[in-house]
């Protein structure tokens, strides 16, 4: 009986993965001999719908699927407030900021974030610093996807585990990219989101079948006085603000943004994004049920998996496993497409378009293998890796705002600001040093902005560099 269940689970999982490959093959029709720009940013032709599905990949990522219920299971209300709040507030930030970034990308024909800095300031040194820090802080992101894939697929009982599982996932992610470039994560995202939404809703319905919302309320624990202590409030508010500002500064989000057809297609995509987060109340119910039910978890990240395994029949478990796998693979493919050209275009120089594309693919293979190795040796620090990535990538914000709106900012001031923000943010975080319970990255960001503004005042760039808003 158990073997039959495993077979059903595996059959459904395999069918969905095969279907996703079919979608990728279809997506490359008419673009098989794609040039560099088409491969990495779809020739800036994605309308609101494809852009929407690419951009919301972050919302229903494998990290979200594990971290949100896991965080509620482990920390309760403070975690939920921060997680819901930062994803939500990043949307209006994107509505106003992203059309400007897209305009800068169009102006400089940018494929990567460093292209914006190189185009605006013409400084090879600044381009290199942005490139190297972007690569450095993208490495944990890939590791996190593999670690998440391992937790989900092993937890759901797939017969392949460990190194073989991660290498298969890496092979699949590379196949997606090699076949269709950025069109692969865009089109597969649609299938992924349908599966993820179905998985979460079905699991939540199963929870409500065995428990009422009122009986689950006990999962939040005793409520006396404030729900959050003053340090928790300061940390939640500062982290919420920091990550809402930083979500779109990731080179990954940036490369998705560059695929847009117009500023208005970006605005239209942003408007409906908050409604798309309606799954989080359902995920919270699932986490509460696991908490109230008292099932012992080896790690909080297993909260969703335990609920699925306990409540759903085998074919549906296979469907959930496939949805979760696709969510990891889509983000992984996106990261690869962001990091490849960072090396072949911004780190190396003098390569023609074909060499840049081939070079990027070599870098992608190396990045995937490195991420597999890191995930196999450090899977227990997912939340730390997530925080470190945000701390690093958000430091690009002052420089991006300078590209959009500031005159006479020298590239040296921007570079020193980024480095100062990185050192202070990552240093406080890794050294476990708390400054009034304010988010470490936000402190780094404030220092970064101060360095940029003071630098612009005491050593202004005398060249005529027109910001994008005046161009």
């Amino acid at each position: 009986m158990r073997n039959q269940a495993e077979f059903m689970e595996l059959a459904v999982f395999g069918a969905v993965i095969a279907f996703s490959l079919g979608i990728v093959l279809l997506s490359r029709r008419g673009h098989a001999a794609a040039g560099l720009k088409d491969y990495f940013v779809a020739s800036r032709r994605f309308g609101g719908i494809l852009l929407f599905f690419l951009s919301v990949g972050e919302i229903y990522s494998i990290g979200g699927l594990l971290a949100f219920p896991g965080g509620i299971y482990a920390h309760g209300v403070p975690f939920a407030v921060w997680f819901v709040g930062y994803l939500l507030l990043s949307v209006p930030v994107g509505y106003f900021l992203n059309p400007w970034i897209w305009r800068a990308a169009k102006r400089f024909d940018a494929l990567t974030l460093p292209d914006l800095f190189a185009g605006q300031f013409g400084s090879r040194g600044l381009e290199l610093i942005v490139t190297l820090t972007a690569i450095l802080f993208l490495i944990p992101w890939g590791t996190m996807q593999f670690a998440g894939l391992g937790v989900v697929l092993e937890g759901l009982g797939l017969p392949v585990t460990g190194w073989p599982l991660m290498l298969m996932a890496a092979g699949l992610a590379f196949t997606y990219i090699a076949l269709a470039g950025v069109r692969a994560p865009a089109y597969v995202s649609i299938l992924k989101d349908v599966l993820m939404i179905a998985a979460i809703v079905i699991t939540a319905i199963a929870v409500l079948h065995v428990a009422s919302p009122q009986s689950l309320a006990a999962g939040w624990g005793e409520k006396q006085g404030a729900l959050l202590t003053p340090p928790q409030t300061r940390y939640a508010m500062s982290t919420l603000l920091f990550q809402a500002l930083g979500l779109y500064m990731s080179p990954l989000s940036m490369s998705y943004l560059f695929t847009a057809r117009s500023g208005n297609s970006i605005r239209r995509a942003q408007i409906s994004m908050p409604l798309y987060m309606f799954m989080f109340p359902f995920l919270a119910l699932i986490a509460l049920w696991v908490r109230v039910d008292g099932a012992g978890l080896a790690s909080p990240n297993q909260a969703f998996i335990v609920a699925v395994n306990t409540l759903l029949p085998a074919p549906l478990v296979g469907l959930v496993a496939a949805g979760a796998a696709l969510s990891g693979l889509v983000v992984l493919a996106g990261i690869c497409l962001a990091i490849g050209p960072l090396v072949s275009r911004n780190l190396l120089t003098g390569l023609n378009e074909q060499q840049q594309k081939r070079g990027a693919q070599v870098v992608i293979v190396a990045y995937l293998l490195l991420s597999v190795v890191c995930a196999a040796t450090s899977s227990s620090i997912m939340v730390s890796m997530n925080n470190l990535t945000y701390i690093g990538t958000t430091q690009f914000l002052p420089g991006v705002l300078a590209i959009i709106a500031l005159r006479q900012v020298s590239p040296l001031a921007i570079a020193v600001g980024i480095l100062a923000g990185d050192f202070i943010g990552a240093g406080l975080f890794l050294g476990n040093i708390s400054v009034f319970d304010i988010n470490d990255g936000l402190i780094g960001l404030i220092v970064n902005a101060c360095v940029l503004l003071v630098g612009a005042r005491i050593m202004p760039d005398r060249r005529v560099v027109v910001p994008v808003c005046h161009a």
């Binding site: 709040g85 507030l89 009122q214 404030a226 919420l240 408007i271």
Partner: protein, 78 residues
């Protein structure tokens, strides 16, 4: 029509509706909301409030789009 043109020329109103209201509602009210001990559907009030902002933020951005941005030329961000 004149009123509409007047509204279009007010970027402060646009930022207030699209950015100010969601930030005040979600982030600014946390210190107040954490003191409220009401449950609805098994969730603390503060979380129900956050979840309500899924709809309210969409409404704010829709208002921005309809009032300020819908007629903006595609090449003209802001």
């Amino acid at each position: 029509m004149a009123g509409s043109a007047n509204l279009m020329s007010r970027p402060a109103a646009r930022y207030f509706v699209g950015l100010g209201l969601p930030f005040a509602g979600v982030c600014g009210l946390i210190p107040v909301l954490e003191q409220v001990h009401l449950d609805f559907a098994g969730m603390p009030f503060i979380l129900n409030w956050m979840f309500a902002w899924y709809i309210l933020t969409t409404l704010c951005l829709s208002a921005c789009w309809c009032l300020f941005d819908r007629n903006r030329k595609d090449e003209e961000p802001g």
